[in-house]
Amino acid sequence: MKVYIITGASKGIGKSTAIKLSHDNPGDLYIILARDLSKLIETKKLMHVDSNVITKPIDLSDSDKVIKLIRSIGDEYGRIDYLINVAGYVNPKSLLETTVENWEMTFKVNILSVFVLTREAVRFMKKTGGKILNVASTAGLSSRPGWSAYSSSKAALISFSKTMSDELEEYGIKSYVVSPGRCATDLRKQLAPEEDPTTIMQPEEVADVISNLMGENGNNLDGQNIIIRKQL
């Protein structure tokens, strides 16, 4: 039985990813994380019935709690095969309106937590090999006036993922990074409140790509930023 940890699984892309992976690989163990327990339970209900799903409410901006949780998962199950970092935070503001708290929270959720999750998971994953996937963004690739905290945190995430691909190779750990373009979720609504969500990419479409990458089809696609974007 393989052990998956999926963050941001209460809604949007993370929720679709958890559902899709469980249907593609029923029978595995899925530990799904986010702050909102009731929404995690909703996700669980939509996952494959033969999958073993454990919901763990956690605030990823609290590094001590993240360390404790991953160590307890590693100790209890003896292995972590997949770490899928989907959780993300944005509070779009112009430079002059971005508070230090906003900047810190963006970096805590989007990159600091990924570093902590990765470091802790790799202490176990290095014994079996595995896959780590990070959801960055096309915003991490170009200038985004008004979203500088978010876009620079995603640029950091792309860089971190590429370094991990090299640094962890000898352990048999593959590191992936995907950068979705606009996708119909709550987070997108904050960035583009006026946009009609039915006209853009759906979270299920991103989840399909992630599930493919986590399977054998993805074995030669690690270490490079993969853009997932609906051409309009």
């Binding site: 202490r123 176990f124 290095k126 014994k127 370094t163 090299d166 640094e167 190779e169 000898e170």
Partner: protein
Amino acid sequence: MKKHSLLLLSGGIGTRMQQDIPKQHLLLFGRPIIIHTLERVDKIEEIGEIIITCPKQYIEELENMIINYNLNKSIKIIQGGNTRQESVFKGLTEINNNSVIIHEAARPFVKLADFENLINSEYSNISYGLDIPFTVLKKKDDYISENLNRSELVNIQLPQKFNAEELKQAHIKAKEEGTTFTEDASLLLKYSNSKVNIINGSDYNIKITTPVDYKIAEIIYKDYILNEI
């Protein structure tokens, strides 16, 4: 299953130029050089324990490193001696198996199979060795004093495996006589009747000693360990 002890010599001391970081703690493709060996050995069931000899000032740093890499094996770090020979002797007094594998932390390009070949060998005393592709002559003062026939010479490489008690007794004799050796096959040859078998080593298994070695180490890592070049 017969268990072996690994004695890992981590004796290097940093120079000012390298900000006092000993070579075996420098990063090689992201991880300290000594960790490369430890992580590979961690997977070998036949290795029952690891003793590391290390200068006193680096013991704490090494202990923390080992915790961070979440290794499974029982690892004991002891303070090394003033010379390599003294460190090996100190290590030999700590081990709990009849067979010891000696390796140097500054040789990170040792593969799992290199250890397994020693473990599976019928010989209890065995060392890796390479032919010498260049000429080595003896000198006295500034003059060449004697020819050496290179076909009779061997470039000794670690790891090596020894019968621990035989090696220890040989060390005791060497200590009594005050003789010094740069590695243990020659010491055992001098002070025991045991034969040391030679198994073919690898050009890649270099000891990182000079700044040039460190520069080429990443290329060797990618080519030989990751198979990427």
